[in-house]
Symmetry: C2
Subunit: 122 residues, 2 copies
DNA sequence: CATCTGTATACCTGCAGCGGCATATTGCAC
DNA sequence: GTGCAATATGCCGCTGCAGGTATACAGATG
């Protein structure tokens, strides 16, 4: 994987927040919306940007689309994601995001269908 | 230091090459020109870009301008520079640059006036 | 002073990304 | 099938950056 491409993905705050949230485990789009409190379009486009460059992977699960960090990341990517996680731990915004994520659902991480919507899985 | 700003600096190949060359020690602009074999303007502008954002520092020494990595880098910057060095060691282009740098002058790193020009220090 | 060398800056063009609005797509429920 | 929820995509305007050419600046030399 090309180093420059990786850094291009990392040089936007929204994308950093998305990747930061993915570190603990897979999430669906509505989680990102709930935590970042940004428009659906904005989040969706940044996720598409990341996916097109191999920084995240996605999978459909019923109505939802689950995003995750690559299962087998290239060495350079792994190193930089680790570095990001390390650095993000020192910035308020990222910590707040993670805190909000935890509030969303305790067993959320790596759990089944997201159940994020008001309608939820019904 | 803002993480996003750091990554903005890292998302250009020329700038990565410059930073990679600075890892062993300070250099003057003509060294970058000799190693990268890019136009003077291109290199100068990228160095200005990096300096404006605190990724490098510069100091005049007679006719030459010496660039170096920050003496007291912020934690996030230090982490990412270390990561970059690690990743760069695996890419041919960066290794070739370092090899060329070594050929330029054995005692070059951290030495005195650069002596790079034909006229040199005379 | 004039001149040369090393380096920086101004101005321009082209291109890519960001964010917004509107709309499309996919799958579920009825 | 209809309708709705979750998500993606197309188009537009704006901004910022990359790289080029020409020019300016600073210091050394004579």
């Amino acid at each position: 994987m090309d180093l420059v491409k990786i850094y291009e993905c990392l040089c936007d705050r929204t994308r950093l927040r998305l990747l930061n949230l993915l570190a603990p485990g897979p999430l669906c789009v509505c989680h990102f919306q709930a935590v970042l409190r940004e428009s659906q379009v904005k989040i969706s486009k940044h996720l598409a940007y990341l996916r097109a460059r191999g920084l995240v992977e996605s999978e459909r699960e019923g109505n939802w689309i689950i995003y995750r960090l690559p299962v087998k990341p290239a060495r350079a990517l792994r190193a930089n994601l680790a570095c990001l996680q390390d650095c993000a731990a020192e910035e308020k915004l990222f910590r707040r995001d993670l805190a909000r994520l935890k509030k969303l659902g305790p067993g959320l991480v790596a759990s089944g269908p997201c159940g994020c919507a008001p309608a939820g899985r019904k």
